[in-house]
Symmetry: C2
Subunit: 129 residues, 2 copies
């Protein structure tokens, strides 16, 4: 795994970050590596895209969680949840592209923390290209 | 990245595999590592789940492709496509769980090749748990 870029976000603290991007995440910036510039060339502002990240502050030894950290909910296997704590903490985020300028992309609805490595971008499921 | 399991599938050849799981992929089996058994415990047959894989036969140096290998389509940046060839070839597959028995899960609509490492399972986007 080689990051293709990194997240720049006002979110720096896991405890205060929203659990899903549509629950009040601020605008964020994706800053890409020059080596992947050609791969970005057809991305268009206004469209939705899936961002895959490496959740580098996750606990990879966790297999069972209380969903959304709510202790009143029964312990649940991580593969039935969106918990960042899991053996391979790959984050999957549906965001809206606000703007692209060179290697810098501004997005809405990204709950990843500042400094999170970006692994990949994909069209949303169901878009067949 | 440590695989949590591997794909067992009659698909062994990239050229003959369907490009999306709902385009005629055969049933496949996910064989999980004993170390992640606790994480699987709440998965239920009949439900949809996202499977993340590591597409180990992909070409990681590719940044521009003809979508779906169709030379009549204009060259497109890989981050606007589902091409397996891309810098970090993480496969994202929506499958239906047919059955689970211990560490073995039978699924429908998985176009990944036999032997592909499995990285993660997640609820489908929009399912909030």
């Amino acid at each position: 795994m080689t990051p293709i870029g990194f997240v720049e976000s006002p979110l720096t603290d896991r405890d205060s970050a929203p659990r899903q991007g549509d629950e009040g995440a601020p605008e964020a910036v994706l800053r890409f590596e020059p080596s992947v510039a050609d791969g970005l060339r057809d991305l268009v502002p206004g469209t939705d895209v899936l961002v895959l990240t490496w959740l580098d502050r996750a606990d990879r030894d966790v297999l069972v969680v209380h969903p959304r950290g709510d202790l009143s909910r029964p312990p649940t296997g991580v593969f039935s949840t969106r918990s960042p704590d899991r053996p391979n903490p790959v984050g999957l985020h549906r965001v809206v592209i606000i703007a692209i300028e060179g290697l810098t992309m501004r997005v809405r609805d990204l709950e990843a923390l500042d400094g999170t490595p970006v692994l990949d971008l994909k069209p949303v499921l169901g878009d067949e290209r």
